[in-house]
């Protein structure tokens, strides 16, 4: 673990016992996060990205789950922390924002009261009036107009975008160093998405707030992320800086994700390309590379699971799980529609 690391995740594994049998939702995820850094975790539904995020603060703990590996926050292990230790980390050191702002607030309490509750959970000496004052400041800081009045609104009186702003305000109430944003823009319409992303980017800049951004939207990633993890069927299939992932993607799954973006700088295609097939069931994973059944470039070696390794001589921080030779990948990408080849990173 490097000295300046804020969060260090090592070989995180999360398994669940379900009616259909045991499944491994997260299978060996590792990454580091420096203070102020934004890491995006990208993947389709069921890729394990949300489970990874929630496991970081113990939200997936249950009698039916098995969690292994290591999550260290400034050196303190969270995986085997007891409930009270974990409670202190939640909200105080790691704030979390969820996908659906419509259902993430309790409908029966006022917005301000729910924010104040987060503060008072960690600072019991805070009076109700102080909590309310602080809630107004926070709502104001995330751009809720007329915060002094709106603080007493119920969640259903806020619009979707305002609710997500209020969620962010609540997650930041105790000034944590790390924000986990689990699909924070997915449930919002496009203009509001852009506002929320701008807000996240501003908070990252002004407060040096490290962020883990969970999303399936590479457009969102391009806006705010420093580094990217691409997940597929519970495993990280590619990991690198934003430029490495966008300009020199190594895994065919990443190509698929990039290829299915609409682009302003290209002619509009007849049909938007898509990755054929559906993600595999976690109860019945193929042997070897999990992407193999959907991959157009499958060959005999793919029945053996490739490790997450640096395969490019000039980019030791760029890791992927694909057996294809880097040179061969370049050729294939050209054929596939010039994914990520122009404008190499400076």
């Amino acid at each position: 673990m490097s000295a300046e690391s804020l969060l260090s995740v090592r070989d995180l594994r999360v398994g669940f016992v379900t009616e259909g049998g045991r499944l491994q939702a997260v299978d060996g995820v590792s990454f580091e996060l420096a203070p102020g850094e934004v890491v995006a975790i990208v993947g389709e539904s069921g890729s394990g990205k949300s489970v990874t995020a929630q496991t970081l603060i113990g939200l997936t703990r249950s009698p039916n789950s098995r969690i292994e590996g290591s999550v260290r926050l400034r050196g303190a292990e969270l995986i085997d922390a007891d409930d009270e230790e974990l409670r202190k980390v939640r909200g105080e050191q790691i704030g979390m924002v969820f996908q659906d702002p419509m259902t993430s607030f309790n409908p029966v309490y006022r917005i301000g009261a729910q924010i104040a509750e987060a503060i008072r959970a960690h600072r019991p000496e805070t009076s109700k009036a102080e909590g309310r004052e602080r809630a107004i400041e926070l709502l104001d800081s995330v751009g809720i107009p007329n915060a002094a009045q709106r603080v007493d609104d119920y969640p259903h009186e806020f619009s979707g975008g305002m609710r997500q702003r209020a969620m962010i305000a609540m997650a930041l109430a105790l000034e944590p160093d790390l924000l986990i944003a689990d699909e924070p823009t997915t449930a919002l319409d496009v203009t509001v998405q852009a506002q929320i992303l701008a807000l996240l980017a501003r908070l990252n800049r002004e407060r040096n707030l490290a962020t883990i951004l969970i999303t399936h939207d590479l457009g969102v990633v391009a806006e705010v992320a420093d580094r990217v993890l691409v997940m597929y069927a519970g495993r990280v299939v590619e990991r690198g800086t934003l430029d490495q992932i966008f300009y020199d993607p190594q895994h065919p799954y990443t190509w698929g994700l990039l290829g299915s973006l609409t682009r302003m700088d290209r002619d509009r295609p007849e049909r938007l390309p898509q990755i054929s097939g559906a993600p595999p069931s976690l109860l019945d994973l193929p042997t070897g590379c999990s992407f193999r059944p959907r991959c157009p470039h499958e060959f005999d070696r793919c029945t053996e699971l490739p490790g997450l390794e640096a395969r490019l001589a000039d980019a030791p921080s760029h890791l992927d799980r694909c057996w294809l030779e880097p040179e061969r990948k370049r050729e294939l990408r050209l054929v596939e529609g010039e994914i990520g080849l122009e404008a190499p990173a400076p």
Partner: protein, 318 residues
């Protein structure tokens, strides 16, 4: 709120009208219900029956009879056929016993129903949950007359721990009042307790999966606070609904329990009236009971609006 009250008042009048007409009609079509025949006795002469018919107005058309009876109910002049006593006096006499029975039992079943439901939900799948489930299902399944008989046999007749019957006025002797009501309270409470705890358990398990419960955990609330502030509050609506309906209906008389424990409440009076085909008290008690059902329905809606700010009285609360 004003609109809500007016609408509810209109609704109440309509419901009471419908209930009274139905009760009246049913009485007049069931066989062997001719009141003059019953009042005149077994060996009545036709002349006697004719004079009773004349005196009580049984020769009038049904609508006229109905209107006369309703008038008498609301002016307090109603006289029963059996015993010819003022019905409103008997009802007023019965209110304290019925009210004591219902309130006491409701306190017990709400307290334990909510406690058991809460513990079951929090410890779902554990031994405590399993135990409470067995207790709840047993409570739901036991017929009230059987349970009352068992309790009476073991706790009253055989051991003499509790009195077997009778009601003592609260104002007369509060201790004796409670002492006489323990068995009826427990019997009635067990009947509802199991059901309430099962309903609360399943609602809480649903609510625990809500996103806002995850949010509450993510902001660092203790598990206890998450359960009590966020899960419980949102799980109370079905319980409040059930309570309003059950309690409202019980105020109209708990026939079986009042009869078994001889509490002389409204329920026991109703049983008596039914056994004697005595229409005036049947009508009066039915209306009295229906009034409470309707009243508590409205109270439930007011409670909804308090429990869930998204509900506005007179709009979505139908």
């Amino acid at each position: 709120m004003g609109r809500f009250v007016i609408r509810r008042l209109l609704g109440t009048v309509l419901v009471l009208f419908a209930v009274s007409v139905l009760t009246f009609l049913i009485f007049n079509v069931v066989p062997n219900s001719d009141p003059a025949q019953r009042m005149a006795g077994k060996n009545a002469t036709p002349e006697l029956i004719a004079s009773i018919n004349e005196e009580w107005g049984f020769n009038d058309s049904l609508p006229t009879q109905y209107v006369t009876m309703m008038k008498k109910i609301f002016t307090g002049e109603l006289i029963s056929y059996e015993g010819r006593e003022p019905v409103d006096e008997r009802i007023v006499e019965g209110i304290p016993a019925t009210l004591s029975l219902c309130i006491g039992a409701a306190v017990i079943w709400m307290f334990f129903g909510i406690l058991f439901g809460y513990l079951s939900a929090v410890k779902a799948g554990g031994w405590l949950d399993t135990t409470l489930t067995v207790v709840a299902v047993a409570g739901i399944s036991m017929p009230v007359f059987w349970l009352a008989a068992i309790l009476l046999n073991y706790l009253a007749y055989k051991t003499g721990i509790f009195p077997s019957q009778g009601y003592v006025e609260l104002t007369e002797n509060p201790l004796d009042w409670a002492y006489h009501l323990v068995l009826p309270w427990v019997t009635l409470a067990i009947l509802y307790l199991g059901f309430y705890s099962r309903v609360l358990r399943s609602t809480m398990l649903d609510v625990m999966n809500e996103d806002y419960v995850r949010t509450a955990r993510a902001k660092g609330l203790s598990e206890r606070r998450v359960m009590r502030k966020h899960v419980m509050r949102n799980s109370l609506i079905p319980i409040v609904t059930l309570f309003g309906l059950d309690f409202g209906a019980l105020l109209g008389g708990a026939i079986l329990i009042e009869k078994i424990f001889n509490l002389n409440g409204i329920g026991q009076y109703a049983e008596e009236a039914l056994a004697n085909f005595d229409l005036p008290p049947i009508m009066a008690i039915t209306l009295y009971g229906a009034f409470f059902v309707v009243l508590f329905n409205s109270l439930v809606d007011i409670a909804y609006a308090y429990l869930d700010p998204r509900i506005r009285l007179g709009e979505s609360a139908q």
